[in-house]
Amino acid sequence: MLAWTVYISFLGVLGLMLLPKGNAAAARKVAMLSAVAGLAVAFAGFAEFKAGEIVTVAKLPWIPSLGIEYHLAADGISLTLVLLTGLAAVGGILFSWNIEDRAKEFFAFYLALIGGVYGVFLSFDLFLLFVFYEIAIVPKYFIIAIWGSTRKEYGAMKLALYSFIGSAMVLVGLIAAYVVSGAHSFNVLELAQYPFPHDFQMWAFPLVFVGFAILAGMWPFHTWAPTGHVAAPTAASMLLAGVVMKLGAYGCLRVAMTLFPEGLEAWKTWIAVLAVIGIVYGALVALVQKDFKFVIGYSSVSHMGFVLLGLVTLNTIGLSGAVLQMFSHGIIAGLLFAVVGRMVYERTHTRELSQLEGMNLVKAMPFAAVTFVVASAASMGLPGFSGFIAELQVLIGAWASFPTLAVIAGVGIVVGVAYTLRAMQKAFFGEPLTALTPSHPPSDADGATASQEGHAHAMQAISVPERLGAVMLIGVSLLVGLYPRLLLDVITPSFNSPLFEWLRKGGAQ
C-alpha cells in the first residue's frame, strides 16, 4: 500500500497537467489533495507497521536480463522518513497557498519532487533508488529558477550540478559494485551480504558516501545548500532542507554504509571529523549572516552535521539518533524557512536582519514571532522538542565512539543557541525606529531590495493556511519531543535487520 505514496504524487502531476491554464485555485486543491492522500497513506503504513520487520511493498521483475527489480519495501527507517516527507509535503503546500504565477506548473514540479523522494525512501533495489534519486533533482532546478528570489538562476544551477555530480559518483560506485559482486542483482539486501574485496571498498565507500553526502550538505561540499535554500521559494526551501537533504543522508546509510562496511571502518574517523567541522563551521557562519534566510541555510548545514556524525558512531543509539535527527530537522527547518520565507519575507520584502531590526515585527506580526520563537527553541534543542532528544542521542553515541569530537560538537550546540537567539532578537525584537534614518545601512546587493516606505503599510495578516501549517509542524515536533518512543520504537529495531549486521559489529567483520 505504501507504494501509493509514490503513485499518488505522480498521478497528482498528471492531474495538474490536464488542468486548464491559469486556474491557480484548482491547481492548489489538486496538489493539496494529492499531498494529503500521500500523508494519509504514510500514516496508515506507519500504523500497520510492526517494529523490526522489513515490509515488501512491491517486487516485480523490471529488467530481467540485468536482474533489476521493481522492488519497493520499507523498514522503520524508511517509514519514518516517508512520514516526514508526507508532513513536509503538506506543510510546503500550506505555505505556498498564495502562489498565483504559473501555479499549475509549480505544483506539478513540486509533486514530481515529492514522488521522487517517496520513491527513494521506499526503494530496496539500488537501480530503482537511483532512478528516484535523480527524478528528485530536476524539479528542484525549475522550482528555484522560476519561482525563486535572490540569484535564483545561479542558485538553481549550482544545486542541480552539485546534485548531479554527487549522483554521478554514486552511479560509478553502483555500477562497479554490481560488476564486482557478480550477483546479477541490485537488491540492496543481497549486495549487503556480499563481501566486497577490501581494496575495492577502500575507494568505493568514500565515492558513494561522499556522492550522497553532497546532498546531505557535508562540509566542504555544502556550498550549494545555503545559496540554494536562499534562492528557493518557501515551499522549495522547506522541501530542500526538510527532505532533500535527508535523501543524501539516507543514501549514505542505506547504500554506502551497508554495502561497504570495511571501507566505512577505515574512513569513519575522517567522516566524523568532517561532520563536526560542518556542525561548528555551519553554526559559526550562521552567527555572522546579514540575511535572515542565510542564517537558517547555514543552520541546516550545522544540523545535518549531527546526522552524519550520528551515522558514523556505528552504535545503535547514535544511529537511531541520526535518523531521529533527520526527522526532527526536517520538521523544524521546514518551520523556520516557512517563517522566514513566507511569513516575513513576503510581507516585508526584505530579509536583511539590519532592516528587519527596525520594524519591530513582534508587534506587526505576533503570530510569526511566536512561531519563530517556538521553532527556535526546537532548533536550539530545548528539551520537549524533537531536536533535543535527537541531538542528545547523537552526542551520547558519539561520546562512545569519538569522545573528543563529541565535545567539539557540543560546542556547536552552544554556538547554535547563539546564532538562533541573535537572529530571533534582530528579526523580531528589534527596537522600533520612530523614523527611518539615512544612516540605515543600504540593502545588500541583489534581491533583498526593500522599499523603505513599504514598511509603513499595514502588513497582510497571517493567513489560515499558514497558521494551520505552523501549528501542524510545531505539534509534530512537540509530540516527538515529548514522546520520542513513538518513532524510536520503530527506528531502533530496524538496525537489528541483517542489512545492518556489519554496522552493529562496529564496521568490519
Binding site: L66, V131, I135
Partner: protein, 494 residues
C-alpha cells in the same frame, strides 16, 4: 543462389525503393500544380506507408539466411535494427510535413528513402565491398539532403563541407579496406577474421585498422573526425539533420561494431587501465574519450540549438563507443539500445527545433525564450528530449547510458574499462549544464514581447507527443526493447 532467394531476403529494401520511385514519379507527373502542403502531405504519407510496409514485412515474414557470401545477411537482429532505422525514417518524414525549404517534394522524399535503403543494406552487409557501397549510398543521399535548402547559403556551405570531409573519409576507408583485402584475401568479415587469426598485429594491419576507424569515425561524428558535424547540423534543413543524426547513426554504429567485433576479432588489444595492449580497442577508446570531452565542453558555449545538438551528438558518439568496447553480446545489445533511443530522442529534439524555426526563422537559444507559455505541449516534449539526452531517469536516455556503462564496466577483467566509464559519467554530469540552458530559455526566461501564443500545427504536436511518449515509455520499460534485443542476439548466436 537464385534471384528469388535474393528477392525474399531483400524484400523490405525493395519495398522502400519502390516507394521512393512511386513518390518520385507521382510528384513529377501529376502533382506539379498542387499546393506545397498537399504535395508534402500525400507524398509523405506514401513514403510512410512504404516504410511501414517494410516494417510489417520484417515483422511478419522473418527472413533468415544470406546470399553471395555475406553480401546480404538477414536474421532477426538485422531485422530489428532495420525496424529501428525505418521507424526513425518515418518520424523524420512526418516531421517534414510542414517544411517550407523546398518545392522539390518528390526528390526530397525519394532521397530520404534512398538514404534509408542505404542504411538497411548497411545493416545487412557482412562483406567489406557491400559495406562500402551501402555506406556511400547513404552518404551521397545525405549530402544532397543537406544541400536541399537552395535559398540558404549556409545549407550549401554545410553540404560542401560534409561532402568534402565525407569524400576524404571514404577514401581513407577504401584504402583501409583494400589493405585488409590484401592481407586476408577475403572480403567477408568472418573470412577476414579467420585469415588474420594468429598472425598478430602486422604493421600493415595497423594502418588498415586506423584507416577503417577513420571512415567510421567520420560517419558517427567522433572526435577527431567530427569537424563537419556542427556546420552540417546547423546548415542542413532540420529534417535532413534529424536523419543524419538518427537513422544514419544507428546504421553506422551497428556496422562499425560488426566490422570491429567480427572482422578484427583477435586483434582487439586492450584498453584496460594499466593493462594496455595494441589493437583496435585502445584506438577507439581514445576516440571515445576525446569525443566525450570535446563534445561536452564545446557544447557549453554554443548559442544555436542545432549546433548544440551537433556537439551533443559528438559526445553521445563517445558514450556509444563504450558499447563497442565491451566487445560482447551485452555490449552489442547496449549499443543498439543506446543508438536507437538516442536516434528517437534526437529526432524529437530536431522536430521541436523545426517548429521553432518555422515560427521564429532561426534556432538560436534566444528563439526558444518563453516557449513553455507560447506552446506548452511542444515545450514539455522538448523537456523530455533534453532530459533524456542528459540521461535523467526515467527517460530512455538514462537507461541507454546506464546499460552501455554497465556493459563496459563488466567487460574484461577487474573493471579494466572503469576509467572510461568514470570519464563518461563525469562528462555526463557536465552535459546537464547545457541541456538545462536550453530548458532555461524555454521555462525560466521571461519573453520581452509578452507571451502571445504560437500557432503550432496540431499534426506536428501529435508527432512530437508520440515521440515523447516513446522516449518515456522506453525509459520506464526498457525491457520492451532490451527483451527482443536479447532474444535476437541469442538467436543469432552472438
Amino acid at each position: 543462389m537464385s534471384y528469388l532467394d535474393l528477392l525474399k531476403l531483400a524484400a523490405p529494401e525493395v519495398l522502400v525503393v519502390l516507394t521512393a520511385l512511386v513518390v518520385l514519379v507521382l510528384d513529377l507527373t501529376s502533382m506539379r500544380g498542387l499546393n506545397l502542403r498537399v504535395r508534402l502531405g500525400i507524398n509523405g504519407l506514401i513514403a510512410c506507408v512504404g516504410c511501414a510496409a517494410a516494417i510489417a514485412w520484417l515483422l511478419v515474414i522473418p527472413a533468415q539466411g544470406q546470399v553471395a557470401g555475406g553480401m546480404l545477411v538477414a536474421d532477426s537482429l538485422t531485422a530489428l535494427v532495420k525496424i529501428v532505422v525505418l521507424s526513425l525514417t518515418i518520424f523524420t518524414v512526418l516531421l517534414s510535413f510542414n517544411a517550407k525549404f523546398t518545392a522539390h517534394v518528390g526528390e526530397y522524399l525519394a532521397l530520404v528513402l534512398f538514404a534509408a535503403v542505404g542504411m538497411m543494406f548497411l545493416v545487412s552487409a557482412e562483406d567489406i565491398l557491400m559495406i562500402f557501397v551501402s555506406l556511400e549510398m547513404t552518404s551521397l543521399s545525405l549530402y544532397v539532403l543537406t544541400a536541399f535548402n537552395k535559398r540558404n547559403i549556409k545549407s550549401a556551405e554545410a553540404a560542401l563541407k560534409y561532402f568534402l570531409f565525407g569524400g576524404m573519409a571514404a577514401a581513407f576507408m577504401l584504402f583501409g579496406l583494400s589493405l585488409i583485402y590484401g592481407l586476408s584475401g577475403a572480403t567477408n568479415l568472418h573470412a577476414i577474421a579467420a585469415a588474420l587469426a594468429g598472425k598478430g598485429l602486422d604493421p600493415l594491419l595497423v594502418v588498415a585498422m586506423v584507416m577503417t576507424v577513420i571512415g567510421f569515425g567520420f560517419k558517427v561524428a567522433a572526435v577527431p573526425f567530427h569537424l563537419w558535424a556542427p556546420d552540417a547540423y546547423e546548415g542542413a534543413p532540420t529534417p535532413s539533420a534529424a536523419l543524419i543524426a538518427s537513422g544514419s547513426k544507428v546504421a553506422s554504429f551497428f556496422i562499425a561494431a560488426k566490422v570491429l567485433m567480427i572482422g578484427f576479432a583477435g586483434v582487439e588489444g586492450s584498453a584496460a587501465w594499466r593493462d594496455y595492449a595494441s589493437g583496435w580497442m585502445p584506438l577507439i577508446a581514445v576516440v571515445a574519450g576525446l569525443s566525450m570531452i570535446l563534445g561536452n565542453l564545446a557544447a557549453i558555449v554554443q548559442r544555436n540549438v542545432k549546433r548544440l545538438l551537433a556537439y551533443s551528438a559528438i559526445a553521445h558518439a563517445g558514450y556509444a563507443v563504450l558499447g563497442i568496447l565491451s566487445n560482447d553480446a551485452s555490449g552489442t545489445a547496449s549499443l543498439i539500445y543506446y543508438v536507437a533511443t538516442y536516434g528517437l530522442t534526437v529526432v524529437g529534439a530536431f522536430g521541436v527545433v523545426s517548429v521553432v524555426e518555422n515560427l521564429k526563422g532561426d534556432s538560436k537559444l534566444t528563439d526558444f525564450i518563453g516557449l513553455s507559455r507560447r506552446a506548452p505541449v511542444v515545450a514539455l516534449c522538448m523537456m523530455v528530449f533534453m532530459l533524456s539526452l542528459a540521461g535523467i531517469p526515467p527517460l530512455a536516455g538514462f537507461f541507454g547510458k546506464f546499460y552501455v556503462f554497465l556493459a563496459a564496466a563488466g567487460a574484461g577483467q577487474n573493471l579494466g574499462l572503469l576509467w572510461l566509464v568514470i570519464l563518461a559519467i563525469a562528462m555526463s554530469a557536465v552535459s546537464l549544464y547545457y541541456y538545462l540552458q536550453v530548458l532555461k530559455q524555454i521555462y525560466v526566461v521571461e519573453a520581452k514581447d509578452g507571451n502571445q501564443g504560437m500557432e503550432v500545427p496540431v499534426f506536428s504536436q501529435a508527432v512530437l507527443v508520440v515521440i515523447a511518449i516513446l522516449v518515456v515509455g522506453l525509459g520506464c520499460f526498457p525491457n520492451l526493447l532490451v527483451g527482443p534485443l536479447q532474444s535476437c542476439l541469442a538467436a543469432t548466436g552472438h
